[in-house]
């Protein structure tokens, strides 16, 4: 196999037929479910959030990740209670997947986190009568996904209270409230990024966090007090599904080596190969349109291939009359024939697919003759021609194939990558692009008017 991933395929010969298996899988995984440290969500531990002080009481109990905090600015002989105005706590759990996820693709994911909160009326929220205010008191509940070293973390759900503690109402509690999630795509990206950092691509950390912010809202008559009776992250459910990622350029072959055709006076006049092929289910064309069956002679690929999408569930011949592969037969070397399944792009596959090959035949016809013609000048001429063609082809592929604008983009990108000095590039400004379009539209109108006059004159004639 050249390139790709040999874990993605399995080849075997049984019942006198070759079986090419492409190995797909689908799994669903529940990273956490329910209340932290209940039987369905074990392994949560408590941590400081960086340098922030912890709230007064933090614990994981039967209600979930629990916090109690009371800010009393007057606390202590020198009002040192003020340092407790922005406490925070993290609850973490490491999650391990049973597989190396670099071979899999997460196809869907969901997260749901509930919290409960209760505060005293002294917690201040917009609308309350206070001496001064800016951003008010608040508690922020959140869920983050991080790598094991916690060097990068991505917030995937959050809820910051805004009205909790409001005197009108009053609003002093919140029951079983859902945090607001990021989009499913962002959630998947966060899990992928965390897994990327892990050498085994199978471990990451879930962080549940509670930040409390107590603003100093009292100007006179003593210090501010904010009592947070309880802030609880009650449940956190994170589940996702993943499918096997079949890597591009994965290939699988059956090979046969046969003797060489040797002798100066031998001329090969025809080589023809054919076989029957079938598939156990329709090929998922939408996932991989250009995956194909190839024929290789001595590692040279024959120009015609069979798209896997053309395979049916009953045996059919690869080509009526077979493939004419004479050009690939070289004298004096052993002839190695391969039939190869080639997967052209990466895709996710949720089940196995088998391709069958049977009744392979390969005929070579040759004649023996005496070479008399001096073909040296012809060879030189042809070689020069080929060199010119290849140079032209390469220049076209790397340069002229692209429109002028793309060439400018590519050139600048190359210079930036190499750290070269960058000269200003002459391009149309936004205003000029719009102005040019208006001129074009006016020009269109003039041309159409002229055509209209011509048309009328013609009709009158």
């Amino acid at each position: 196999m050249d390139g790709g991933d040999d874990d993605d395929v399995l080849g075997e010969i049984s019942n006198n037929e070759a079986n090419f298996k492409i190995l797909g899988e689908i799994h669903s995984f529940t990273a956490v479910a329910g209340t932290p440290n209940s039987t369905t969500s074990l392994g949560w531990k408590l941590f400081n959030n960086s340098d922030f002080l912890l709230p007064d009481i933090v614990e994981i109990n039967s209600s979930g990740c629990y916090v109690y905090h009371f800010l009393d600015e007057d606390e202590g002989p020198t009002d040192e209670g003020q340092v407790h105005n922005f406490p925070s706590v993290h609850f973490k759990k490491n999650v391990s997947l049973p597989v190396d996820m670099s071979d899999y693709e997460i196809t869907n994911a969901s997260i749901q986190s509930l919290f409960n909160a209760s505060v005293d009326i002294n917690v201040d929220a917009p609308g309350d009568s206070v001496d001064f205010s800016a951003i008010w008191d608040s508690a922020t509940f959140y869920v983050e996904i991080a790598d094991l070293a916690n060097s990068y973390s991505f917030r995937v759900a959050e809820y910051k209270t805004r009205t909790l503690g409001q005197n009108i109402g009053p609003i002093l509690s919140m029951t079983d409230t859902l945090m607001q999630n990021v989009s499913e795509n962002d959630l998947i990206t966060a899990i992928n990024l965390a897994l990327e950092k892990d050498p085994d691509h199978s471990n990451f950390t879930i962080i549940l966090g509670i930040d409390i912010y107590c603003e100093d809202n009292i100007g006179t008559g003593g210090g501010d007090e904010d009592r947070w009776n309880y802030l609880i992250i009650k449940t956190c459910d994170l589940t996702f599904s993943y499918q096997k990622r079949i890597d591009k350029f994965t290939s699988l072959s059956i090979n046969q080596e046969s003797n060489s055709i040797s002798g100066e006076n031998i001329q090969i006049i025809n080589a023809n190969i054919n076989f029957n092929y079938s598939i156990d289910q329709a090929w998922p064309t939408n996932l991989s349109t250009f995956s194909e069956i190839r024929i290789l002679i001595n590692n040279n690929t024959y120009k015609d291939t069979l798209l896997l999408s053309s395979a049916s569930t009953t045996y059919q011949p690869a080509k009526l009359g077979g493939f004419e592969v004479t050009s690939l037969i070289v004298k004096d070397v052993n002839i190695t024939t391969s039939i190869q399944i080639f997967l052209a792009n990466s895709f996710d596959l949720d089940k196995n697919i088998t391709i069958f090959i049977d009744d392979v035949y390969f005929y070579i016809s040759y004649i023996i003759l005496k070479p008399e013609v001096n073909i040296f000048p012809l060879v030189i001429g042809l070689s020069t021609g080929i060199v010119v063609l290849i140079t032209g082809f390469i220049l076209y592929q790397v340069h002229f194939k692209y429109p002028k604008m793309v060439r400018k983009v590519k050139k600048l990108n190359k210079k930036i990558k190499k750290g070269k000095k960058l000269k200003p590039i002459e391009l149309n400004t936004r205003d000029l692009i719009i102005k040019n379009n208006i001129s074009k539209q006016k020009q269109f109108l003039i041309i159409e008017q002229e055509k209209s006059i011509e048309f009328k004159n013609f009709k009158e004639e």
């Binding site: 409001q166 109402g169 990108n413 960058l422 200003p424 208006i438 009328k456």
Partner: protein, 375 residues
């Protein structure tokens, strides 16, 4: 879907009272209304808009307040689902609805004897407004662009990204600073940009935030109505009408120089679903005024009003045929003209030379610009 409208008024003796609601079975919690009221009056109590999230009724409320200085302080509350944001419909549309509701309220104050009839009219208007909001969620690509153009916040986002790529966090901060308005949900603000393929969101390795890249640009403008001109070239609908039409179009477009006010006028016509239906109809051919296809339940007077407003904005024009019947033509075709933002290539060169952006951001942006270029 928007749930309905609640109009409340504040009086010295009664406090806050619900004045009118639509639909009639819409649940209104007076505590919730007080919360919204407080959100308005915190500070100077001036006229303006707030967006309030109500947990209890699981609603977002886009609320307009006439201010404590007005004769009768009124709040017009548009009750939305939790996932909805007024920006989804465009601030211009919501302002227009609020303005019209206020006119009904004004009429009611001035003609107390007719208040029953006016209330009936107001109810019918609110019903239509909710229908309009629902239709605004299913805009075409060019209408979404017009919506971006007509919104100050979206326009500011576009202008920022015309300069360079920004992370979502940076963009949010800069937009809030520039517009002085809090962005409650950046996802919703970016939604029309993503749906129209104007921007792409992507991670750059090593960054903790997603970066936003402008990959296509547009402006709203007028162009000749291509199909109608093709028809006129063939003397359609009649030789006389074709000549008159070409003359009118030439006169208008030769003098046409786009400017912000005119572009805004064009954009507002495009985002109005009823007017947009007429624009797309007249893009195909001209119609005699008495043969314009009518929608179910549409009355001729209503059609006439839409046509008049489009004519006033120089989008439609009426030309009389020999028999004296008016034919309706598209004078100019309002379009969102999209183009490749080639100027960004020079911006990226300038920014990297002046160290305003990181190398990896420049490389990523150039790679994306290379991928989207079509010729």
């Amino acid at each position: 879907m928007a749930k309905g409208f609640v109009i409340t008024k504040w009086t010295e003796d009664q406090g806050l009272v619900v004045y009118h609601r639509y639909p009639e079975n819409l649940t209104v919690d007076l505590d919730d209304m007080m919360r919204i009221f407080y959100a308005h009056i915190t500070g100077a109590g001036e006229a303006g808009n707030v967006l309030v999230r109500l947990e209890k009724t699981k609603s977002n409320v886009s609320s307009y307040f006439t201010g404590m200085e007005s004769t009768t302080p009124l709040m017009i509350n548009l009750m939305l689902e939790l996932g909805e944001d007024p920006e989804m419909f465009g601030e211009a549309v919501i302002s227009e609805i609020n303005k019209n509701i206020l006119q009904y309220m004004q009429k009611m104050t001035e003609n107390v004897g007719e208040s029953y009839e006016i209330t009936k009219e107001l109810t019918a208007y609110m019903k239509d407004a909710l229908l309009l909001l629902e239709r605004l969620k299913n805009l075409s690509k060019e209408q979404r662009m017009a919506q971006i153009f007509s919104s100050e916040r979206a326009r500011t986002i576009l202008e920022m990204l015309q300069e360079r790529a920004y992370s979502r966090g940076e963009l949010r901060t800069l937009i809030e600073e520039k517009t002085g308005r809090f962005i409650s949900n950046l996802e919703i603000a970016l939604d029309p940009f993503i749906k129209t393929d104007i921007i792409k969101q992507d991670w750059i390795e090593g960054d903790s935030d997603i970066t936003l890249f402008l990959l296509s640009d547009f402006t709203v403008m007028r162009v000749p109505a291509e199909k109608l001109i093709e028809n006129a070239k063939k003397n359609l609908p009649t030789p006389e009408l074709a000549t008159k039409y070409m003359k009118k179009v030439s006169e208008f477009l030769n003098a046409y120089e786009p400017n912000f006010e005119d572009n805004m006028k064009v954009a507002l016509n495009m985002i109005n679903p009823d007017k947009y239906d007429f624009i797309t109809l007249f893009r195909e051919r001209a119609y005699p005024i008495n043969k314009i296809p009518k929608g179910p339940g549409e009355k001729f007077d209503e059609i006439r009003a839409f046509l008049k407003s489009l004519e006033d904005d120089n989008i439609l024009t009426l030309i009389k045929d020999k028999t004296g019947i008016d034919w309706v033509f598209l004078l100019t075709d309002p379009v969102a003209y999209t183009f490749y933002p080639e100027y960004l290539i020079e911006n990226i060169r300038r920014d990297i030379s002046e160290k305003k952006i990181e190398k990896k951001t420049a490389i990523k942006h150039l790679e994306l610009l290379e991928q989207v270029y079509k010729k």
